[in-house]
């Protein structure tokens, strides 16, 4: 393997993040508890520098370490998104952890470590490197999910996440090894060259594709590999849930698209059939089961499952579309969808994190009763996020769905668009229920402690970013559309 110092410069953002993570872990024991806020600011500063660096790398594609890592516009798109979400997570956690009395300085270290794993995932062009990134991301998340040591649910979430995550990683690794056997390489370009012109008649290739699809299916939380999601999302501290629901999903989609488009692009007719089935199952089950949830974190978990289904429509459309523009439009739609999804989902989880009942999370839908009368602004923001998640204009959620459905219609999947839109209308029911509870129900005077909202400047910044993204990109999506269009992957 050739190595040049210039390669290190390409992965400077990742190096910075890892350095900051180590620094946080080292500094944590020596700082007094009043100084631990400094760790959050250290993380934020690092992320800001990284975003600047990544933005400057956007325009020149380059590969490093003999092709293991590719820093192109596509990678930069996801890295930017991930760093942004990590920044929001740090801001949210800063207040939330104090409220939960979780004074762990290493928390920020885990956020950064997990982020570095995600950044590796989206910029790797080698299956093993992607696997390493996935593991780095997941291992940090397992710990973060169980951070609320006093809460049995949090421990259960951590254990469940660990067992199923390790299981799915095993499947992923098995798929990688079979693909290596079939093609003789783990580099995506080499794999693409080796399977060009081959079909799934080769049982080895078939098994490898299916195993990779299942492995990524777990990470993306698509049906039927979604079982861990509701329990983990509900049990984990809410700030961690927000991070998982947004960042780990985005990173998984980033790596997933890279593998299936750049590596297995010539099998697209085959894998798009697999993902079509997963997509339909995800849309149906995610939306239907969300209808009956009484816990808002579980509801948002099923909603995030359903949203993965909408994003998959773009993947299927890209695989089915016969034309170059149809393919790129499909991929662009997926990237756009996840970027827009990040704003609304993070915003919704932030409001959930802010709502406290006694010393606990106010995470039952009941707890939102009458919120509009007590905290009009918070209720209005939640309304915007719910409307956006339901895909109603003029919000970001509508723009995301619009592009996904446009790609589907262009690829000739009009029936899929109809089906997905019918389920979007069904989904409106459970999002509306939150609005209804907040605005149309009066709080029961007999219940003792009505939930309160925690406030802090950091939370205000998080909410302002989220709502600005939802409203601005809902009204004027042009910049983001152009960015995604510029960064899109092409089938090789």
């Amino acid at each position: 393997m050739t190595f040049s110092p210039g390669d290190l410069f390409l992965i400077l953002p990742e190096l910075l993040v890892i350095t900051a993570a180590c620094l946080v872990l080292v500094l944590d024991p020596v700082l007094s508890s009043s100084q631990k806020d400094g760790l959050a600011w250290l993380s934020l500063g690092t992320l800001a520098i990284c975003m600047g660096l990544i933005a400057s790398q956007m325009d020149h594609a380059a590969s490093a370490f003999g092709g293991i890592v590719i820093i192109d516009a596509y990678a930069c798109f996801w890295r930017l998104l991930l760093c942004f979400v990590a920044g929001l997570t740090v801001l949210l956690s800063h207040t939330y952890l104090r409220e939960e009395r979780l004074y762990f300085g290493e928390y920020y270290g885990f956020v950064l470590l997990s982020l570095s794993g995600m950044m590796v995932m989206v910029s790797a062009a080698d299956l093993l490197t992607i696997y390493l990134g996935t593991e780095l991301m997941s291992l940090s998340l397992y710990v973060m999910a169980g951070l609320k040591r006093s809460a049995p649910r949090s421990l259960e979430a951590s254990a469940k996440y660990f067992v199923l995550g390790a299981f799915s990683s095993g499947i992923l690794l098995y798929g990688i090894s079979l693909l290596y056997g079939a093609t003789g390489s783990t580099r995506l370009p080499a794999i693409a060259a080796a399977i060009a012109g081959r079909s799934l008649d080769d049982p080895l290739l078939l098994a490898a594709t299916v195993l990779l699809a299942v492995g990524f299916g777990f990470k993306l939380a698509v049906v039927p590999f979604h079982m861990w999601t509701p329990d983990v999302y509900q049990g984990a501290p809410t700030s961690v849930t927000a991070f998982m629901a947004v960042a780990s999903k985005a990173a998984s989609f980033g790596a997933f698209l890279r593998v299936f488009v750049e590596g297995l692009g010539s099998l697209k007719a085959n894998w798009s059939a697999i993902f079509l089935l997963l997509c339909i199952a995800t849309l149906v089950l995610g939306n239907i089961v969300a209808l009956v949830q009484t816990n808002i974190k579980r509801m948002l978990a099923y909603s995030s499952i359903a949203h993965a289904g909408y994003a998959l429509i773009g993947v299927v459309a890209a695989g089915v579309a016969g034309t170059q523009t149809g393919e790129t439009n499909g991929i662009t739609a997926v990237m756009l969808y996840l970027a827009l999804y990040a704003f609304m989902t993070f915003g919704a989880f932030t409001i959930v994190a802010m709502l406290r009942k006694g010393g606990l999370d106010g995470d039952e839908i009941e707890d939102f009763t009458g919120l509009a009368a007590r905290h009009p602004l918070a209720a209005l923001l939640m309304l915007v996020f719910m409307v956006s998640l339901a895909g109603i204009p003029p919000t970001a959620g509508f723009i995301g769905k619009f592009y996904v459905f446009m790609a589907a219609v262009e690829a000739g999947l009009t029936w899929l668009a109809v089906l997905a839109l019918v389920f979007a209308a069904i989904s409106a029911y459970y999002y509306l229920r939150i609005i209804m509870v907040m605005y149309m129900r009066e709080p029961d005077p007999l219940t003792a402690a009505s939930p309160r909202l925690i406030m802090s400047p950091a939370l205000s910044i998080v909410l302002a970013c989220a709502v600005a993204g939802v409203v601005f990109f809902g009204l004027y999506p042009g910049p983001l559309v152009n960015l995604a269009g510029h960064a899109v992957l092409t089938f090789k």
Partner: protein, 517 residues
């Protein structure tokens, strides 16, 4: 920007700006600011009436700006003779909606007024949008404020009604989105409504697209059998909400048919015409029968709306100029008359806190002014010559006559039934025996309430006696719609049109006694 002055943008932005201003206003000045904004919007819209060039069937007051580059979606606004009266009707009704809510809304007045103004901006946007995606954005954007208007400020069963309203309309309109996307790829990659209205779409595809359009528009109209959300929503909504629903939102269904279904899908519209006419007649008769049986005033008016809106869809699918112009007239008239009736119910509900006919009887003695206005609106609703509704309903029936005599006869039944339920209602509410325990509450109309109702009464007679200013403004635009639907009878119908509208006796066509001033 192709036009020097952005009339329509201002019309849309002004209420939205007013809604934002309300958030920062003092609690005491909220009502005045809302009224001022709505009135300013009305004043701003009035010049359009005279600036409009009625000789042109094209879009006027055009504004275009690129909104999103890939795919090309434009911020494109414009009015023609069909949308102009509807926009003016909207701007005219909104100050009245603010006025009627002056005292009846006593909690969260700030949000209420803000919702009203947001609705106004979105509704004008729906009528003025000339880009299909922009139209859809406005169309859907109305749902949330309307949902809140019903659900927060409505009656005891408001949550059920709000959710039902929302889901019905949402399910209808998601199919519209797919149809918009399919049309985009079928007709030369454009969302421009004017261009799409001239594109040729394969007949087999038109079939499916028509069904998708139908799902969206028929729910909004509402056509039988998609009307069940309407009585619930009307009864539970606050008065201003009922007025907006009945007067403007229902029109969007009819507007959708005439703006999109007829010109974009002419073949499918022709093929579906028998079904549409049948459903319209069922709605006319069924709505009227249901209205007869109602004990609740709002429900009675809601079902009468189903019946009256049946005339709209009936007229549209006759494919002749009387029918379509009559349908548009009927939309405007229904907005005025039914708006007036809902305002009347709101007034009496404020006093007696009951909408039951049995609780509100014999109002003529304690409330003479109120009873007079109620009778005027009721007579207008049943289509008495000299009032506005007569013009629209007569034109629709004249248009239907060319299409089918049987259909005309059946639809006329609706007018007879309308006379029955309206006169019966009047007999009890205005002239029955007053119930003694209600008497103390029965103050006659105060100045604010008179100011709310009088403008509509003026319009009832103005349009009833002198409908031509509206008709001349829509001639050219309706002819453009008709030019897209090539029907054998349309030729005769268009020939007969001049005679119909200028001379009291037609030659080979049914005579129409247009009331002359």
């Amino acid at each position: 920007m192709t036009h020097s002055f952005p009339w329509l943008t201002l019309l849309i932005v002004l209420p939205l700006a007013g809604a934002v201003a309300l958030c920062f206003a003092k609690e005491t000045s909220v009502r005045l600011i809302a009224l001022g904004t709505a009135a300013a919007d009305l004043l701003l819209s009035l010049p359009l009436w005279w600036l409009f060039d009625s000789s042109s069937g094209g879009m006027q007051f055009n504004e275009t700006a690129l909104w999103i580059s890939t795919p090309p979606i434009h911020y494109r606004l414009g009015l023609d003779g069909i949308s102009l009266p509807l926009v003016l009707m909207t701007t005219m009704l909104m100050p009245l909606c603010v006025l009627i809510s002056w005292r009846s809304i006593d909690q969260r007045i700030r949000s209420f007024m803000a919702m009203l103004l947001v609705m106004e901006g979105a509704m004008i946007g729906v009528f003025a949008a000339l880009d299909f995606v922009l139209f859809y954005v406005f169309w859907e954007a109305m749902l949330i404020p309307m949902y809140l208007l019903i659900g927060v400020w409505g009656g005891p069963n408001r949550i059920y009604a709000a959710v039902k309203f929302f889901l019905y309309t949402l399910v209808g309109s998601v199919l519209l989105l797919v149809a918009i996307l399919v049309l985009y790829f079928q007709s030369g990659h454009t969302f421009d409504i004017v261009q799409l209205s001239q594109a040729a779409v394969p007949a087999s595809l038109q079939f499916w697209l028509f069904l998708a359009f139908f799902a969206a528009f028929a729910v909004k109209v509402p056509m039988f059998p998609f009307h069940t959300w309407l009585p619930d929503a009307h009864v539970e909504a606050p008065t201003a909400g009922s007025v907006i629903l009945a007067s403007v939102l229902l029109k969007m269904g009819g507007y959708g048919f005439v703006r999109f279904s007829l010109p974009m899908l002419p073949d499918a519209s022709m093929a579906f015409a028998p079904l549409m006419i049948t459903l319209s007649i069922v709605a006319i008769i069924y709505g009227a029968y249901m209205a007869l049986a109602q004990a609740d005033l709002k429900k009675l008016i809601a079902y009468s709306s189903v019946s009256h809106m049946g005339f709209v869809t009936l007229g549209l699918f006759t494919f002749n100029i009387q029918g379509i112009e009559g349908a548009v007239m009927q939309m405007v008239n229904h907005g005025i008359t039914t708006g007036g009736l809902f305002l009347c119910v709101g007034v009496i509900y404020e006093r007696t806190h009951s909408r039951q006919i049995a609780d509100n009887t014999g109002l003529t003695t304690p409330m003479p002014r109120y009873a007079t206005l109620l009778v005027i609106f009721a007579l207008s609703s049943l289509g008495l010559p000299g009032t506005n509704s007569f013009v629209g309903e007569f034109m629709v029936l004249a248009g239907t006559f060319i299409w089918s005599k049987l259909a005309t006869a059946l639809a006329s039944l609706g007018i007879i039934l309308a006379a029955a339920y309206m006169l019966w209602m009047i007999q009890r509410v205005a002239f029955g025996l007053p119930s003694p325990h209600m008497l103390p509450a029965l103050r006659d109309l105060d100045r604010r309430e008179m100011a709310t109702l009088i403008p509509l009464v003026v319009l009832v007679f103005l349009i009833g006696i002198f409908p031509n200013p509206i008709l001349t403004r829509m001639h050219a635009s309706v002819n453009q719609v008709l030019a897209r639907t090539s029907v054998p009878t349309a030729a005769t119908a268009m020939r007969a049109d001049d005679q119909l509208l200028t001379a009291p006796t037609g030659g080979d066509s049914p005579a129409m006694e247009t009331p002359r001033p």
